[in-house]
Symmetry: C2
């Protein structure tokens, strides 16, 4: 480990004072102004000598860390995560010279540990995804900690970024109605009763219901626990009195329903139309590609970062208004009369041959 090159060394090299060098390196509001020429000279020297600012040292005096937390509030090891959130946040942070620290609920044997991330001061703000499932223990910490928290994919009056799922579900249902379907179910798998854990569950049901009412159709909402309720599920959804179409709560549910249908000898979209929600990996890679509602995760994360800046920059002017995105209808094979529309094939051509082959190839 070589001796660190400090700002002092730099000052000596260029024959300036510490303060001047500090300003030249990182020009900001100050009583001390440096000439453009000086800035160039100092920065050239910095490069030449391999100077790297010490993030910790600057955070002491400057009172900010240039660091935000990205808190993914999911427990255990989920099958997948919407990667658009983390990439969007990272890109936005990078653009503004912020770092992002990864935060998770601890799993494994340290399940109950409170992360150092919370004990120590090193964050200017935090962006939290899926806050709904947080332990109250964490909620307390967040309340008492003095940094701003922005909620991503969570519906709150302030400081949150989310999608209008009432509108989204309405549009999805309208799509199914326009396709000529009358008997349309809303189906959720996994939770015995439809519990109001995440806002999207209640909102999607509401949007679906409103659209059905507007069209003078009878809404039917079903929730099944799998595999315990496999019997009723197969009977009610794919038996004699089966619906013409199903709007699933999410793509994962839709994919599973598609699988059930297949084993019952029913094919989408000919025998039954099945629609997902989220436009995630399931809808795109499903054996029959799924019509779905696109959620702009990347843009939402960028918006979340903008809210972070708003909270940090102008100090002490209270909460920021929440930011609402509108999901976009994506029509694919699972609700189209023709198995794959031409448009869809075009899209596939673009997306299935990525610039970087490893993107898909590597685990």
């Amino acid at each position: 480990m070589n001796k660190r090159v400090t700002i002092k060394d730099l000052a000596q090299e260029v024959g300036l004072s510490l303060g001047a060098v500090s300003q030249a390196l990182n020009p900001r509001e100050s009583t001390i102004k440096v000439r453009e020429e000086t800035i160039q000279r100092v920065q050239a020297a910095a490069r030449r000598m391999g100077y790297r600012p010490h993030a910790g040292a600057s955070s002491i005096r400057s009172k900010h860390f240039q660091n935000i937390g990205y808190f993914m509030a999911s427990t255990g090891i989920p099958d997948y995560e919407p990667v658009g959130y983390s990439i969007g946040l990272h890109d936005a942070a990078l653009e503004h010279n912020f770092r992002v620290t990864l935060i998770r609920l601890p799993s494994g044997k340290f399940k109950n540990a409170i992360s150092r991330v919370f004990r120590e001061a090193h964050l200017d703000a935090m962006v939290m995804v899926n806050a709904s499932i947080l332990f109250s223990e964490y909620k307390d910490i967040l309340q008492t900690s003095d940094f701003p928290v922005i909620y991503l994919n969570d519906k709150q009056d302030n400081n949150s970024v989310y999608t209008d799922d009432i509108l989204g579900a309405k549009r999805a249902t309208e799509h199914l109605i326009q396709r000529g379907h009358r008997s349309i179910y809303f189906v959720k798998i996994n939770n015995a009763p439809v519990v109001d854990l995440h806002y999207s569950i209640a909102d999607r049901i509401q949007g679906y219901t409103e659209a059905m009412h507007t069209a003078k159709l009878k809404p039917v909402i079903k929730a099944y626990t799998y595999p315990q309720q496999e019997g009723p599920l197969l009977d009610e959804l794919f038996g004699r009195d089966k619906p013409e179409a199903i709007l699933a709560y999410c793509d994962a549910d839709a994919a599973q329903l598609l699988k059930f249908a297949y084993h019952q000898g029913l094919h989408a979209p000919e025998d039954i139309a099945i629609m997902g929600y989220n436009d995630d990996i399931f809808s795109r890679h499903c054996w029959v590609t799924l019509s779905t509602m696109h959620i702009p995760t990347y843009d939402m994360a960028q918006a979340a970062f903008r809210m972070v800046l708003a909270q940090i920059d102008e100090n002490s002017n209270g909460p920021t208004d929440s930011c609402v995105f509108v999901p976009e209808l994506i029509v694919r094979a699972s609700t189209e009369r023709e198995k794959e529309t031409e448009k869809e094939k075009e899209r596939a051509k673009g997306s299935e041959l990525p610039l970087d082959p490893l993107q898909v190839a590597i685990l």
Copy 2:
């Protein structure tokens, strides 16, 4: 923003010196020893007053940041990421009171920006996933920077953690042979020629080839660019002279092959056996669940963290030996004669009803 509670305030409160309090808060090697009773008293006061150590301040004198970088070297916005790596690393870091900073290749308009993450000193080490695709620009930075880098999912002599894909592919092939298949192809989709970008491509081909030779069977290796080579693909894999079984390079490829087969009127495993590799989301959620080779991503990340500690703790004793994991054969529906084995159904029951419903439900 309330006034920060500092170690000074604490010292005043408990009537001790700064140094003593520092030791009591965080006992370590030092000439100054504190009584157990003192430690308790100080820590109680710290809790009472809401003291939170300033990560930046401690990093100056202590010369370490308690922070490691998690560098996911994928470009653009991939469809998914193996989440086991980041969770495993996070858990291990948490256990040792380390933070983890998220690092990515910048996408979007700041594509060519070098992240602040590299310019500033704030990391003790870095764990890098899929290093193979790095820009040389980054490679230079890594070479000259003075912190250790551990390579995850990359095969190197030192400082890397990876799986033995020669052995893995061999076992996968043997599984297919034991099922009675003679004509078995190795298939990769996406790259026109099989380019040696990631070690796993060459190694899986090697393992497959060796297993075939041992069984006195003729290895056939195919690579297709989709959709450009859709014609030859369909013809050679699912036409008149189709193989009895296919070992795909990865689960995503296998899932796609399954889809092609279906549209050609062929079903797995009756008409053709198709096997994946990686045991990722594709293999588990595919319409016909895929037999595959499990890669212990969580454990690999934990191992990577242990290597990080080895590199940091004992200073100046050179590189650490690489750590090799062995993939495990997972038999599912796509190669079994019976559509879904009983064992598989059992497994599904466990995994499809997670403790946390949001794990699956929420985007």
